[in-house]
């Protein structure tokens, strides 16, 4: 089973775990991305996530399908949240279950790495000093936009 979604409300993490776990699975893994209070030494107050909604949904689904091809029998539920998130809020949840733990763990890692590489979602960090900036993981330092 595969289910992926871009959502704007809080992610129901226990529901995702239940969704992938079955009597035929022996290992369930969960990966959560959460909003950190400090990034690159700056105090973060929140993160605004924005997406190219239609393509982000498609790309996320393609990644889950690739995971299922690579890790046969894997069960996957992924949600990525967009909108304004506060500290410790869950931005992404990846639940994976498989009969065997190695496949579950490897599939989970594959999904988060591909998601970060390919899914058209962006984050704008808001700082305690009032500035905000779009994060560019490919740059050493993102450009600062006065808020």
């Amino acid at each position: 089973m595969i289910r992926t979604a871009i959502v704007s409300d809080a992610i129901d993490v226990p529901a995702l775990i239940r969704e992938v776990t079955s009597e035929a699975t022996g290992a369930t893994t969960l990966f959560l991305g959460t909003v950190r209070d400090v990034n690159d030494g700056r105090d973060v107050t929140g993160i605004e996530y924005t997406a190219y909604a239609g393509m982000a949904s498609d790309e996320l689904q393609r990644i889950a399908v690739e995971a299922q091809t690579q890790f046969d029998g894997v069960r996957v539920a992924v949600e990525h949240r967009i909108g304004t998130l506060g500290l410790s809020d869950v931005s992404v949840a990846i639940a994976v279950a498989h009969a065997r733990r190695t496949q579950a763990m490897d599939a989970s890692r594959f999904i988060i790495e591909e998601l970060k590489r390919r899914v058209p979602i962006w984050k704008c960090e808001h700082y305690a000093d009032g500035e905000r900036q779009w994060i560019d993981p490919t740059a050493s330092r993102a450009s600062v936009v006065a808020s």
Binding site: M55, K116, V119, P120, W122, W134, V145
Partner: protein, 81 residues
């Protein structure tokens, strides 16, 4: 010549001051033509040498043909997760 709509996001949308801009390109047009036309607009300096371009919600590689019926987007470095 034809007019194409281009979707912009995040830092690119900020730089161009819009989520969607029109560019005028010669037919038959390619993604490189679209990027070139964007670069000439105010804000176009933020585009890297070869920005990611998606057509119909899929990444393209190299220079590919585009037409008015397609959904064209120029994609800043992604930062999901």
């Amino acid at each position: 010549m034809t007019q194409l709509q281009v979707l912009l996001f995040a830092s690119y949308a900020d730089a161009f001051g819009a989520n969607c801009v029109s560019v005028t390109v010669a037919e038959p047009a390619t993604t490189a033509d679209v990027v070139g036309a964007l670069r000439a607009l105010p804000g176009g300096h933020v585009l890297p040498m070869s920005p990611l371009v998606a057509v119909d919600r899929r990444y393209t590689r190299g220079d590919v043909a585009v037409s008015a019926g397609q959904e064209i987007a120029v994609i800043p470095p992604v930062a999901g997760g």
